[in-house]
Symmetry: D3
Subunit: 232 residues, 6 copies
């Protein structure tokens, strides 16, 4: 595929996307069958952010952040820019000037399989970034890539318009077609967890709450009073 920028993409409904963002990565990842998680080397530059948005996808080349400027024009308020590089690279592709531009256009965060810089300023701005590295290494604007084409980012295939959820636990992608269904499952899961949390907080054991004692015995777990009682 040549170097293209695609203007219009389909997204999940914005209220669904926002709701998924509030639920967080672990819940959403579980609710869609433990899939969609980007590699755990993708870390937030500061603790505490949690966002959900539709992906504007970007394919960059090493040491070159030109296409981030193309991407921001194609984003709508509430979108997340998701960028990958054609080869492993930790250069600082994004800093406070671009963040200022992103914010002015309503972009709410960046997921980038490369480096990020100006993290002190970004932290003060509360503009969240998930990246593989922090590096002050600057970049050029010389080689064209693509915007809004399917990309592989941190090991996951991400299509433009897919729903992205990111927080302190990492980043998960939900196919935009499945967003409503995953939201329903997530909410059900959350409700279910609330009940469990109360019982566990009261001192009830998971062994009893989840009725694990019999399955554990069947699976071969044997209790001993003392380590010295165990026959090798």
């Amino acid at each position: 595929m040549n170097n293209v920028a695609v203007r219009n993409i389909d997204r999940a409904e914005q209220k669904t996307v926002v709701a998924l963002g509030e639920l967080g990565v672990a819940t959403v990842h579980e609710a869609q069958g433990r899939t969609g998680l980007l590699q755990p080397y993708m870390r937030p530059i500061y603790a505490g952010a949690r966002i959900g948005g539709s992906a504007i996808t970007v394919l960059l080349h090493p040491g070159d952040n030109w296409m981030l400027h193309v991407a921001v024009e194609l984003a709508r308020p509430g979108d997340i820019i998701v960028a990958t590089v054609s080869a492993a690279n930790s250069d600082g592709m994004f800093g406070d000037l671009l963040a200022t531009s992103f914010r002015a256009r309503g972009v709410i965060g960046l997921v980038i399989d490369a480096g990020c810089r100006d993290v002190k300023d970004l932290t003060e701005m509360r503009f969240p970034v998930w990246s593989r590295a922090v590096s002050a290494k600057g970049t050029v604007k010389a080689t064209v890539g693509s915007v809004n084409v399917p990309i592989v980012c941190a090991g996951m295939l991400i299509a433009p318009g897919d729903t992205i959820v990111a927080d302190d636990d990492g980043v998960v992608v939900v196919s935009r077609r499945n967003a409503d269904q995953v939201l329903a499952s997530s909410q059900k899961r959350l409700a279910n967890e609330e009940q469990k949390r109360a019982r566990l907080a009261a001192g009830e054991l998971g062994l009893d709450l989840y009725k694990m004692r019999e399955p554990l015995a069947k699976a071969g777990l044997v209790y001993y009073d003392r380590l010295s009682d165990v026959k090798e």
Copy 2:
């Protein structure tokens, strides 16, 4: 050894364990002859926690956190759960539900040579975890491991009941039999450090405080006024 759970273990005296926890990892590690430190890839999920407790040891299998439920029943208030996995694995084996259960039963922290998730919630709860990774990757409850058997965790042999100290510097294990002796050495070391700290804060040099000038000269250090004076 088969899959076993051992109900009763010996611990060092709780007041010794608590006192070691207050001294911190660096002091305790030094006081026992620079041994017992887990690999430095074991990092706290948030800064500032410092704990001491007796180890409930857990052997898990990749992608399976079942035995953590078995472990919590066998813990006493003040204990620390210390878990390892039979193969390298960064899955998110522990989250806020389990932390709720752990806390309800008096467990004060987790050391796990695998991943951890829900770190935003765990941070708000102030439930400290030292792990090799943060990952939202969920786990199953299908394969049985063991509780309260000797394990290797992050490169160290840990027996059930051993004393664990963990803080921002990492994690150290003290054999429960040596806990009193290591405490005594640690306290002596600390007292000694206080005097040194005062003298150093007053501007005295380590060179003089530790009487290093003569040994340095004997060991071959030569002073020059300028770099250009040095003969190659």
Copy 3:
């Protein structure tokens, strides 16, 4: 070269050094033509510090921090100690006692291609350290190295007296001879950025601000309305 300690070194003017420190790593690194950056594995032990100082260079050996004591005597207020090790090593070479001594003599920070410990205390003291690891692993004082000789630290050649700037983005070195010129370039760059920031914050796109639309088209970027319009 034998084991030497050099007493007198040339530095850039202190006001230049301080001014570079206030500008931060990303700006200074760009202003000197994207050079001088240490490897991005050098990370601060806590967020938010930003310093500039002249380098007292130290060559250590694995597991041995003896020469840090030699270095502090040769430092002037405002200096930064920059230490490397003759082989890869993550031992905790520096802790709160040495920090107390460094501070008493006016040293404002440490850059060390090895480990650091007592990070809880150092954070409370606000004594900033950039290191490759956090580790409680103690060290001995048995082998002599050198102070104020040229060293390679985290991939960069650093001469004694060179200007060091460090913040959340990493560490950059500026040759002391170039410090004034780099300061001038940095300040010019900063002024230029202020104007851009205001325009970007107002919603102007980088595409227009930097006049990128024509170069992008020349470089082969093609816009499509929909992904399905793209011919493979």
Copy 4:
């Protein structure tokens, strides 16, 4: 997507696939515009193999190689099995028994983003494998994955039926639709290289052969007779 096995896939023409295999990874990768290369951590278990085949894609789960048995039935002679795992895993998913089965059915190699074992036997059989690790760690057959669905393997998106070329330089994927065109470009490139090789072997410099002297001067390269002549 649920767990599926797809029986029929489209492939590029076998003679094209074989011809690409003979050209090798570096040539093919260049001929398709420097794209399609899997991460360089994918290494051959022995030196010297070079193959081309159509991909039977497999999605596995950590510690479980069940789907490799499903895959081999769906392969045709000359195919290459390309497997990925749903989470990072280095277990030894493939050994000499499976290789015997693969060879009996005409499969000519394996590309797997996980571990491989029995490498002594595989080397003696000359059954080539490209993997991320060598590990004797055994696997189970308990969790179902998929065969012949699009996968991400070592950072690249691979569709069933895509052409795979693998040799000592790594692994490259060519979309089956582009195989003929990439073959033509590769052959042209190769012919061109032959001429260059002869001239270079005769001592002609690349500077002259590629007419680089003027562009280098324009780009700012300055020649000096001695290092001491260079002004800083």
Copy 5:
């Protein structure tokens, strides 16, 4: 524990040890329930060696190989020296002179969680070493460790006298008490594999040989004729 050297250790019977060595790592590891494997970063310095022997265990300190000289005196012909270091270290602790000494005393190989050097000479001598690194970095003889105490090597607990098997797939440890039983299981497994190998070589599928078709369907695998038939 202080620094000790233990003269006499118990071993499994030598013919059992030799027989396990001939079976190889993958078979032995499977036969003892997929346990005992050292981390896969332990790699042979040349391909093709396969050995079995009883462990003389050694605890070294970084940059210091003194205890290897103590160990060789305590070894019997047929033993394997197994060494670990008290902190991560890749120094070249072993070379051709020590290999000459080891061979003269009947030691048949070395497993070392550190570096190795003179690999060209060791390869010519056919003295096999499994190490975490190759490095020419020399070591000193200054700090005392221990010989024939339990150690943790590459993540595994190894007692003196345990049986070690090493080949191109890595290194596995068998408790000396279990050696006979693991040998019996290994041989049974091997016999079983021979039959399977013949059937697989004849083109029978694992799906039929292992009767997997029904379990796969029960576990939810669905076959489709074409990828386009799959409903998302």
Copy 6:
């Protein structure tokens, strides 16, 4: 420093350089006081090569191998090209065409802190390369670097004309001014080793040959007959 190419450099005497090459990395590294070793991630693309030559140094930029063409013109027969990159990069900067040109001009090997490709061809040609990675990833010729300036390569400072020795153990640099002296030390060391090798091969222990028994006892090593005799 700007982008420069320096035509004339000083070298050690060629017979000294060749003699050092024959001695190998471990011996030379020891003979110059255990200094000068490049990081151990620098590995040969095939086993068995051993060379010594004077360094033509090259500073490259990521993804760009242009300056290798400039370097070869400035080399003399017997030289080794030593290249580094201004940021971490594993692209395949060197392949069989460049090797053909290098060989035609008498260059005997390449040391490059980046990737290398065409390793099958290079192996058949017996053109030795030490690199940090093998990767087919192609490069461009767009950005100018420098030739024959001091560089940092794999953690070591290398000046143009320094002597490079490389073999299966890695790469070591010797300052051209010290080459004669290091050769003398190396030869002395080698002669000394020959005598030791004969005595060790005859079964004499290092403990006796090096008179270690008394120092070991003084350093605190205690012998026990059985592990059970050791008091904790």
